[in-house]
Symmetry: C2
Subunit: 191 residues, 2 copies
C-alpha cells in the first residue's frame, strides 16, 4: 500500500477545473468528456481512472452545489410557515430547474441515496432529509407523523413538482404555486 501521489490530486483538480469552465460557458448538458480531457491536457483514459463514468463527474460537480444550499438551509431558523419553508428550498429548486439535464442527473442519483458507496448527490439528498427532519421538529406543522416522514414527503413532492415543471401543458402553473399547494396539503392537513 502506497500513499496517494500528489500528482493524482493535481490531475483530478485539472479535470474538475476544466469541467467547471466548460459548464460555466455551455451548461452541464453540453459537457463532453473529450473536451474536458483536451482542456485539462490529459488522455481520455486518465479521465476514467479518476471518474468511474461521466455521471460520476456530474456527481462531483453537482453534489457540492447541493451541499452548499443545504448548508444555507441549516443556518436558518425553523420555518414558521409553508412559505417560509418554500423560501428556504427555493435555491435548490432553482438549481434543479436550471437545466433539464441537471434534474435528470439528480433524479438518477436520488434512488441511490444512502447506498453503500455514498456519492455526493445521493449524500446531499440524504442529508436534505436529515436537515429538514431536524428543522421540522420545531416547525408549526402536523405532529401526527415523524419529522423524518414529513421530510420524506417534502422530497417526494419536490421531485414531483420539478418533474411536472419540465412539460408544456402543466407549465401554466408555476412550480412555486404547485409546491405551495402540495406542502399545504402535506404539512397542514385539515381533515
Amino acid at each position: 500500500m502506497v500513499k496517494t501521489q500528489k500528482r493524482t490530486l493535481k490531475t483530478r483538480a485539472k479535470l474538475l477545473e476544466a469541467s467547471e469552465n466548460i459548464v460555466r460557458s455551455g451548461g452541464y448538458e453540453n459537457l463532453r468528456v473529450e473536451q474536458v480531457v483536451a482542456q485539462a491536457g490529459v488522455a481520455k483514459g486518465t479521465f476514467f481512472a479518476h471518474f468511474k463514468d461521466k455521471d460520476s463527474l456530474m456527481e462531483a460537480l453537482i453534489g457540492p452545489r447541493l451541499h452548499e444550499f443545504l448548508d444555507e438551509i441549516e443556518r436558518r431558523n425553523a420555518p414558521a410557515s409553508v412559505d417560509d419553508l418554500l423560501n428556504a428550498l427555493r435555491p435548490i429548486i432553482q438549481f434543479a430547474m436550471s437545466e433539464r439535464y441537471v434534474f435528470d442527473v439528480i433524479l438518477r442519483h436520488s434512488g441511490a441515496a444512502a447506498k453503500a458507496e455514498i456519492d455526493p448527490i445521493a449524500g446531499a439528498i440524504n442529508r436534505m432529509g436529515e436537515v429538514l427532519a431536524v428543522w421540522l421538529a420545531n416547525a408549526p406543522f402536523r405532529k401526527d407523523i415523524s419529522p423524518a416522514l414529513l421530510a420524506d414527503g417534502i422530497g417526494a413532492f419536490l421531485f414531483q413538482a420539478l418533474a411536472l415543471h419540465f412539460c408544456a401543458i402543466h407549465n401554466a402553473q408555476s412550480i412555486d404555486e404547485r409546491m405551495r399547494i402540495y406542502l399545504n396539503a402535506w404539512l397542514l392537513p385539515s381533515n
Copy 2:
C-alpha cells in the same frame, strides 16, 4: 399527402415483434437497436425512421403495459382502504420494480406527462392521475383536498418509494411497507 402504406405498418410490426422477443429473453436493459434491426431484417436507418430514438421504442413497449394495468384498476371498485389501494397499485409497482432500467425510463418520461405530443408512458402517468382521481372521489379518505391532488400525491409517493427501493440500505424496508406508511400519512392524516 399520401396515405400510409401498409408496408409501413408491416415494418413497424416487425420491429416491435423483434423488440418484444428480445425483451422477453434478456429484459429491457439488454435490448440493442442493432439486434432489433437484425432480427427484424431491416436496416438501421429504418429503425430511426419509425422511432425517433431508442427511448421512443421503449415508450412503445412500456406504455401499453402501463395502460393494461390501468385498465385493470379502472375495473375495480373504489378502494375501501389504504391496503386496498395498495393492492390495486401493486401490478404497476411490480412492473416498475422489475428492472432498474424500466424505472429509469418511466421516470424520464414522467416529467413529460401531458406535454403536447403525448407519448404512451407520459400518457399512462397522466391517465393514472385521472383514473385515481375518479376512483378516490368515492374512497374513505380525507376530503379536505381534491381527488386530483390526492392522486398527484399518490404518484409522488409511488416514485419516491420506487426510487428508495433501488438502493442498498433503505432496502431493508420493503417497498410495500414504505408505501403503506406514505399513503396512510397522505390519505388519512389525523392531525
